[in-house]
């Protein structure tokens, strides 16, 4: 064996044996691409030289759909972009239309929206954490995460009848009022959920094998993250203190006391896969804090439908509204021309933007590490392709 290696080495060194780069397609049907994404890998042996993502397998041209629909009819389509964060998608879109029309929604609606958005953030992060563990080879935490996510989906189902695609937030209000016992259910969930974080920490996040696989892998330096427009846990994992809930406040987030979680590089280098992963873990606790405060000051009275306009026809104008989705900045650039349909609705999806950095941070890593890097970016292909 050693002898043949010597022969090989000598052959390569003398130029008699030619080595070449290999192009390998990963996906579109690959379990660790989290959907239908195809990565064209240029490989040198097992080392990644270049990654060329090929998207569009799930393209439905949401923006074209939106132009052919009235403003309220667009809401269900926003659910279907980032299907793990339907509530947050609804929220961004209705905010854009409300700001364009100058609608003030009742206090109670704002509270319900914030609670729903934060529950959705926890649910989405649970999927991200569970599937990331599974990408690395840890199966059990995935089950714990999905068990807890079920509680959230149950609350959503009891409120609006849907578990995944809600069409819950409407322009000026909500589709359904909360049910009796909603506040108690949410408080119960928080109580049940906190021990799970400890369990997942013990099983996964501080597990030696997991740390070895993720620390110092796929390091995204601060300036690269900013230049690529990364947002959400991706950006905060690189040590940038930026969260739209605090830095471009919308809804009633400025009333609550919580902190923005930023990666600290404590397991390896700042901006590695472990940091991105841990920002998600820490953020779930912050979401719990926001929900608890919202439950405490929840207004007793209020009509969720009082501000829903009879006719939704914003005057000519344009607006760019953004919200902090579990994956980062979800922006809606809405141009209205005074008719009942949007003239142009462009969506700036965080998954799309975060994915663009993959080539930069995977070069020089092994293919196995590429799986870890892709998992830590946490993309949803429904939003990348729209």
């Amino acid at each position: 064996m050693t002898e043949s290696m010597e022969v090989l080495k000598e052959g390569i060194a003398s130029g008699r044996l030619k080595t070449d780069e290999l192009v390998l397609n990963m996906g579109p049907q690959h379990p660790s691409t989290h959907g239908v994404l195809r990565l064209e890998l240029v490989l040198d042996g097992e080392i990644v030289v270049k990654v060329i993502p090929q998207m569009g397998y799930l393209h439905r041209c949401f923006e074209k759909h939106a132009e052919n629909m009235t403003y309220p009819q667009v809401v269900p389509y926003t659910d279907r972009m980032d299907y793990l964060a339907g509530m947050n998608n609804n929220h961004g879109y209705v905010l854009a239309v409300e700001r364009l029309m100058g609608i003030e929604v009742p206090e109670k609606v704002e509270y319900i929206r914030v609670i729903m958005a934060e529950l959705q953030r926890i649910a989405s992060h649970l999927v991200a954490i569970g599937t990331f563990g599974m990408d690395i080879g840890a199966f059990t935490p995935f089950l714990y995460c999905f068990r807890d996510r079920e509680y959230i989906l149950d609350i959503f189902e009891r409120t609006c009848g849907a578990r995944l695609l809600y069409n819950y937030m409407w322009v000026g209000g909500l589709s359904h009022d909360i049910y009796d016992g909603f506040l108690r259910d949410v408080a119960d969930f928080i109580k049940k959920f906190r021990p799970t974080v400890v369990e997942v920490n013990n099983l996964l996040n501080y597990n030696k094998i997991f740390v070895e696989r993720t620390a110092n892998v796929g390091v995204l330096p601060r300036d690269v993250a900013v230049s690529y427009g990364c947002s959400g846990p991706m950006l905060r994992g690189s040590g940038v203190d930026w969260d739209l809930r605090r830095d471009d406040p919308y809804s009633i987030y400025d009333r609550f006391d919580w902190k923005v979680c930023v990666g600290d590089g404590s397991a390896g280098t700042l901006g590695d896969c472990w940091d991105r992963h841990m920002v998600r873990v820490w953020e779930m606790e912050e979401s719990c804090k926001i929900i608890e405060q919202a439950l405490e000051s929840f207004p007793a009275e209020g009509d969720i439908a009082s501000a829903i306009p009879k006719r939704i026809r914003p005057a000519k104008g344009e607006i760019y509204t953004r919200v902090e989705n579990p994956r980062g900045e979800l922006g809606y650039y809405l141009v209205a021309d005074g008719s009942a349909n949007p003239f142009r609705l462009k969506v700036r999806g965080p998954s799309f933007v975060n994915l663009s950095v993959i080539d930069e941070i995977s070069r020089g890593h092994l293919i196995a590490d590429l799986v870890a890097i892709l998992g830590s970016i946490d993309i949803v292909l429904g939003e990348v392709d729209r």
């Binding site: 569009g56 393209h59 923006e63 690269v224 427009g229 922006g331 142009r344 462009k346 700036r348 663009s356």
Partner: protein, 158 residues
């Protein structure tokens, strides 16, 4: 110090008096002639007073009056202010200089704008369609777009 959009306009107009920048108060945004977008973008990113270090969104718009617009939403992570730039080009000759060397993410955003609206970004380092298949014809978000009957033998309208 964070600046308001009109202050940024006054500042940039002082630096580029020849460029012909204009301020649109209704949006608000700065309208930049296509020829000078690259220098204005570079200045906006590097100037110590502006430091607009991220391109948060780049949108292509068909204005419906034979012109196409490219809208740049910029953000400063350090100074915490925002800026909106707009380039308007005729639909018959939609050439815009690429800013992908200024903000790296512009490469993908510009490819998307080309794919769906059809403006051409000169100098983009990987200029091709991004969401639609390579052999798709036309740009779906043009207001005069006709849905093709067939694509590679498959019926398109369902």
């Amino acid at each position: 110090m964070p600046k308001a959009m009109n202050e940024i306009f006054d500042y940039l107009n002082g630096l580029f008096p020849e460029a012909g920048l204009a301020f649109d108060e209704s949006v608000p945004c700065i309208i930049v002639p296509a020829a000078s977008i690259k220098e204005v973008a570079l200045q906006a990113r590097d100037d110590q007073e502006l430091l607009l270090d991220t391109l948060m969104c780049l949108s292509g718009v068909d204005n419906g009056d034979e012109t196409l617009g490219v809208v740049y939403h910029l953000d400063s992570m350090t100074l915490r202010h925002k800026l909106t730039l707009k380039v308007i080009v005729p639909a018959s000759d939609p050439h815009v200089p690429s800013v992908d060397r200024v903000w790296r993410i512009a490469e993908w955003h510009e490819r998307e704008a080309f794919d769906l609206v059809g403006m051409i970004f000169d100098g983009n380092s990987d200029f091709r369609r991004i969401l639609l298949p390579e052999d798709w014809e036309g740009h779906p978000l043009r207001k005069d777009y006709q849905v093709p009957e067939f694509y590679n033998g498959m019926k398109v309208p369902y």
